[in-house]
Symmetry: C2
Subunit: 402 residues, 2 copies
């Protein structure tokens, strides 16, 4: 019998118990064993909950129980999750987590610790919720040199941007609706400023490079400055705006960024709406591939955690390969990144814009009579900033996805 | 050192050698071993080819060489691939295949044989080319009860339908262009009649049910009857037409079909164009997910084969779980399947159509003045056929994806 513990009985943790209950017979067939949730660690009590008798308040009860072979860490945050995970792995107990922050901060170290102790540190649920992306990268795309990952990795911001596109809503109003519906937190900073997507692309780009991408080095820009006017221009161009988290292998190193991008409607990411997430992966022989699904939510995320539990149960005493070393990748300076920009400028500066950006097609919208927009040619971020500084009538810019 | 053989040095087989050469250092890092293509089995010689000295004409050279632990079967067709695969597995050599026909015909038997001989029969490349779908189903979506799979599984027909949608082309002309570009074979029957997609959905629905879905029992309808007029109606309805291969778990059994469907532009499959493939998977706790990529082509397909080689090399002497038993699933009779239909009828029969289908909104197109179209309510296939028989002015029908 496989006995497991759940650390943190919040949304995802209670979802783990629910997914196991719902699909128990199928799961047990797949692991060729029975599966029991023996403990739930939480500070709270859960009177009336079907699992109330499993709740413990001392993690050592779990760590010291030799029957427990797998631990689901669904607490979130760095501590005490980090300490608990380390102790579990040191005791040879596999850890399956949805904790993107901890994985982004200490993934390589915890994987190495798992390898040393012949167990596993699995984190399918930490990126893209229910979308299988970690395991495809680790065990399916293994003939590939992955050269680009770009994803819609945050459901809250995608919901807001979809709302803005479809209804012409302002950011503030779309955010409020997302909060009312429970898609956005009361303090929405981690989502709308791109911090959440940044942790996730740090994880994916670490797997891509095999080394550690420090999320603090990733250029990160949120969606708070995106306006209905931007969407009006995008519509005119048969494009839309998405918060993309990207990592690319360039000839001279890796580049990573989180920012709103204008993308054509032909891009498969353009059709990813509402709270859905998608990860686009380009390999050197595979070409383009994409993985799409519910990027968050209780059951989808829990399903990914339980999928990891199945992998651990099928591979007791064996460490599954995951190439992610502790050594840091040095990212290329984002100011050297080349790209094109959609730029909005006040008409007073039209001559100057012509001088700086050359002959570009201009777009004029009836609703915004004081300004115009255009797509720039290719230039580095630094070059763009330098031109922008010379435009007193500069309104805004959004990067164009190549 | 992992030594492998390639059976069949055609498009995919030579791609396998090329992918290994291209990404050798990464692949060897992932398997923690060196990897060598020792033999290539083919009837032909390949003078001037970098691998010409590896070509053998007798499969026994490979089967009897104890150094060979993994065989890539990229011959296609049932025989001699079936006999060779069986002999290889009996000798404890893992087989990685792109051969959908053989997998659809004998998948369960070959998996059982692999399990018995502590090796693997892997077939990621048999469905969706380079798209990881088999491994996600076998080792990621393992907490799920998969209740629906629907996919665009044939690149040739998707190319043709995309062409028809975008350019108003007739089927015959779009097919000819696909043939000229090498996307369709001179004898296109297997693609355009849906037989290829049928084999692939048989494989996926077998993995979904854990038993064998006999492809011969799957209702299969190709795209040869789809016309520019159908696309005109679809455009009017903000929909498009795709050849879908579907399998669903119903309360009273499984249902499977291959047929052209009208789908809304909101459906993520609607944005899958040209030769791209996509597989949509719905799980009972995960909800919707989708896997997208190049469904065919030399290198994408070869990449999937080599990904399987990596799995085998990482798991020598160990059988990876794949729940697919030989016992047949009895599919529900397709005539009992419920759905809605887009119907075109000659105006002479308008009164009769009203009588049979009730108050439905009719669509009239200027270019087709003699007829009208409408979306029916929900009914079984049998009920529809019965109504259709009473319409002397019946023109055509396309199923609507729910």
């Amino acid at each position: 019998m496989a006995k497991i513990a759940i650390l943190g009985y919040g949304t995802v943790g209670s979802g783990v118990a629910e997914v196991i209950d719902t699909n128990r017979s199928l799961i047990e067939k797949r692991i060729k064993d029975t599966l029991e949730v023996k403990y739930i660690l939480d500070l709270r009590e859960f009177p009336g909950d079907p699992n109330e008798d499993k709740v413990v308040h001392d993690v050592n009860v779990i760590l010291e129980d030799p029957e427990i072979s797998i631990i689901c860490e669904t607490m979130g945050g760095n501590e005490p999750a980090y300490t608990f995970s380390k102790k579990a792995l040191q005791a040879g107990k596999s850890v399956c987590t949805s904790n993107k922050e901890l994985v982004a901060n200490h993934g390589a170290e915890l994987i190495a610790l798992a390898e040393k102790n012949k167990c596993n540190y699995l984190f399918e649920a930490s990126v893209g919720g229910g979308i299988p992306i970690i395991r495809p990268m680790n065990s399916a795309l293994t003939a590939e040199r992955v050269v680009e990952i770009s994803g819609i990795l945050n459901g809250t911001t995608n919901y807001i941007l979809t709302k803005m596109e479809r209804e012409g809503a302002r950011f503030e109003d779309a955010l409020k609706e997302a909060q009312d519906k429970g898609y956005a937190e009361r303090n929405p900073e981690a989502d709308v400023e791109g911090y959440d997507a940044c942790r996730k692309i740090a994880i994916l780009s670490s797997l891509m490079s095999g080394k550690t991408v420090d999320f603090k080095q990733i250029y990160t820009e949120g969606i708070t400055a995106v306006t209905p006017a931007d969407f009006s221009y995008a519509a005119k161009l048969n494009m839309t705006i998405k918060l993309l988290a990207m990592a690319k292998e360039k000839e001279d190193g890796y580049l990573a960024a989180v920012a709103p991008y204008m993308i054509t409607k032909e891009n498969p990411l353009a059709g990813v709406n509402d709270v859905f997430n998608a990860v686009f992966v380009k390999g050197n022989t595979l070409g383009d591939s994409m993985y799409y699904g519910r990027g968050a939510g209780k059951l989808p995320t829990a399903s990914a955690v339980v999928g990891d539990v199945v992998e651990c149960a099928r591979n007791f005493g064996e460490h599954l390969p995951c190439l992610w070393e502790e050594e840091n990748v040095s990212l290329k300076d984002f100011s050297s990144a080349k790209g094109r920009f959609f730029v909005r400028v006040n008409k007073v500066d039209e001559a100057k814009a012509n001088e700086l950006f050359g002959s570009v097609e201009k777009i004029y919208l009836e609703n915004y009579p004081e300004e115009f927009g255009f797509m720039s040619g290719e230039m580095t971020e630094a070059e763009f900033e330098q031109k922008k500084a010379q435009l007193s009538g500069f309104v805004s810019r959004i990067r164009l996805k190549d």
